[in-house]
């Protein structure tokens, strides 16, 4: 019984060793792919960052107000209110 256990254990060790060698071998070259992916991620992150900065700059009130001024827009001095008309008798 003891001998069988030793043999099974031996085979398990052999199998696991072989699996480890096979897996390590199969992924050993994926470092190149990983390196490329890292670079791609960095590029996209940079591009996203640039686009985000551009969107924020374009949508800032500071810029919109300056363009509005250049285009001839002026502030509404007297907004018209359509709410709560008072009864005529109450107007002095």
């Amino acid at each position: 019984m003891k001998r069988i256990s030793v043999i099974i254990l031996f085979f398990i060790i052999i199998v696991l060793s072989v699996v480890q060698v096979v897996v390590a071998n199969s992924i050993s070259t994926t470092g190149i792919i990983l390196s490329k992916l890292h670079k791609e991620i960095a590029t996209y992150e940079k591009e996203n960052g640039k686009l985000k900065d551009e969107i924020l700059t374009q949508s800032s009130y500071t810029r919109i107000a300056s363009i509005a001024g250049e285009l001839g827009y002026v502030e509404a001095k007297s907004p018209v209110s359509l709410s709560a008309p008072l009864p005529l008798a109450l107007v002095q």
Binding site: I27, G49, L56, S59, S60, Y61
Partner: protein, 561 residues
């Protein structure tokens, strides 16, 4: 044993000692150095920098965020055409040709030429294909609205270790939340420097900073800064500041002060301009202090709105001093409502005397005068109220109309907002929520501090203030059809022991709509020259902003014009 055998034996012993000594040298003396070289060949240690948290206005717009900028550097030994390089670089680096030229003439291998260079500028420089010029990535703060809200935000500089650190405003107050925590990763690499996937060793990951969601309304902040700039120019003032709160929650909707600065170029400014005078600078509030004293007297029951002033027929002599009204006009037997309407100093002396020192100090304490408001900005400085035993009758009289006491603008606004909130004083707060990198939102609830006056007193005081706006000195500037409660203030500035009559701090403080206030605002104009009076400078500025705010909130007029 022959001598030859002994000599050979000693020779081998000597050789053995040499080997042991050499091993000791490599394994003990230079162990750390060799270990470091070995590790560098084996893998890369990468310091993972955390992303600083964003600061967003109430509409979710990041008013302070991060961007990648570049540090331009040169190797002067490689740069052949130094003069030409300096001329080409100068406009992009926004510096003098001479300073670049002198940097390039140094006998060094590496010299920094400029920092925080934008990606566009970097690309433009790279098109010249200049020898010996390079760039290094540099994360930096980006403010899409430029210098808007600079006094609230503060800026990000460097600490003694060269790490990013927030100074002043929110960047300073919430620095630990915003900055996050750096991490360290070891990436195992092969002979040509490519990562080995099976041997990735993450020691500790970086924790990004938390973001802040503010109560600050970007539209209101923009409007306030725009109008304040215009107002300072129009009234020829040295500066000015405005703060707007929601009195029901204490949320700060906008806060601005000028002169201000550009956070991107904070190095170009003196340290004096970085502080936010709304929370750091104390001044004598003048007549804007009267509502607090009147509300205290009404609340304690020593006067009613219709109580008549029995000492208001002329100047009052007290402790060798003569107390006059601002225009030297007197209204005998006027009511307390009219004391506020005419901003009458003699009437306020009457109120102060009725109230008494002990009660006055008690109420000022409940209004939070002399104590920090607890606003979440770095640098709040509050002047103390003098101890009871050092007050003379003349001090009580002058304090009742806002002279001889100092307050900060935020302290005064916080105290006044309790009148707009049924007598309840809320803690002013800028940050509404802190957002973790995982997206968890930690809301900061509105905090009630205390109730300095009762709700009925607050209602009566509101009516007195509405009357002051409708019939007082600033009535010409008030938007038609709205019920607005407010009070003007013109405080002379104490200079070398006396008050300079030509230099004033003009202010206006009020809230609207009076019956259901959406905002409470304090406008302070520092030393205006076109007119020294609050009613002719700060008040029109207040009403211009108030009119825009009422339109912004969709609140129409409620009264006949």
């Amino acid at each position: 044993m022959s001598w030859r055998f002994q000599a050979t034996f000693l020779f081998f012993i000597f050789l053995l000692l040499c080997v042991v000594g050499r091993l000791f040298y490599w394994q003990v003396v230079r162990a750390d150095e060799l270990s470091a070289i070995g590790q560098s060949q084996y893998g890369q240690r990468i310091k993972l920098m955390p992303k600083r948290g964003e600061i967003r206005t109430s509409d979710g717009f990041p008013i302070a965020t991060n961007t990648i900028s570049y540090l331009a550097f040169a190797n002067p030994k490689v740069v052949s055409q130094k003069e030409k390089t300096a001329i080409l670089l100068a406009p992009f680096l926004e510096t003098e040709v001479a300073s670049i030229s002198s940097a390039l003439s140094l006998n060094r291998f590496w010299i920094a030429l400029g920092s925080k260079i934008s990606a566009e500028k970097k690309e433009s420089i790279e098109k010249f294909s200049l020898e010996g010029i390079g760039f290094e990535e540099q994360p930096s703060r980006f403010y899409p609205e430029a210098s808007t809200a600079a006094k609230i935000l503060g800026f990000v500089g460097k600490d003694e270790n060269g790490e990013d650190k927030g100074y002043f405003g929110l960047e300073g107050y919430y620095d630990r939340q915003l900055r996050g925590k750096s991490g360290l990763a070891v990436q195992v690499i092969d002979a040509v420097g490519r990562p080995i996937l099976a041997r990735m060793d993450d020691n500790s990951a970086a924790i990004n900073g938390r973001s802040l969601n503010l109560h600050i309304d970007r539209s209101i902040q923009f409007l306030v800064e725009h109008e304040l700039k215009k107002g300072i120019e129009k009234y020829g003032a040295q500066g000015g500041m405005i703060g707007i709160l929601n009195p029901k929650t204490g949320s700060v909707l906008a806060m601005a002060a000028f002169p201000s600065y550009d956070q991107k170029k904070y190095n170009d400014y003196s340290a004096e301009v970085f502080k936010n005078p709304f929370i750091t600078d104390s001044y004598e509030p003048g007549s804007t202090f009267k509502p607090l004293i009147m509300a205290s007297a009404l609340d304690s029951g020593v006067v009613k709105a219709y109580t008549k002033c029995s000492i208001c027929h002329g100047p009052i002599l007290l402790g060798g001093y003569q107390i006059k009204t601002w225009n030297d006009q007197y209204h005998p037997n006027m009511t307390m409502t009219d004391v506020i309407r005419y901003s009458d100093n003699t009437g306020m002396v009457f109120v102060g005397q009725k109230l008494g020192l002990k009660r006055m100090l008690g109420y000022l304490n409940r209004f939070g005068i002399g104590e920090p408001t607890g606003i979440d900005l770095q640098g709040e400085a509050t002047p103390d109220i003098r101890p009871e035993e050092s007050w003379y009758p003349i001090d009580v009289a002058t304090a009742s109309f806002g002279q001889g006491v100092s307050v900060t603008a935020v302290e005064l606004l916080s105290a006044f907002s309790s009148i707009a909130n049924d007598g309840i004083r809320m803690e002013p707060h800028i940050v509404a929520a802190v957002v973790t990198p995982d997206g968890e939102k930690i809301t900061i609830p509105a905090k009630e501090i205390n109730r300095p006056i009762s709700a009925p007193t607050a209602k009566v005081m509101t009516e007195i203030l509405v009357n002051a706006v409708d019939k007082g000195e600033a009535k010409w500037a008030k938007p038609k059809g709205y019920r607005i409660a407010g009070k003007t203030g013109t405080a002379q500035i104490p200079v070398e022991g006396h008050y300079d009559p030509s230099q004033t701090i003009a202010s206006f403080m009020g809230f609207a709509p009076a019956d259901d206030p959406k905002f409470v605002m304090l406008v302070v104009v520092d030393r205006p020259t076109s007119s020294i009076y609050g009613s002719e400078t700060a008040a029109p500025l207040f009403f211009t902003i108030a009119k825009n705010l009422l339109t912004y909130y969709g609140i129409g007029p409620t009264e006949a014009e």
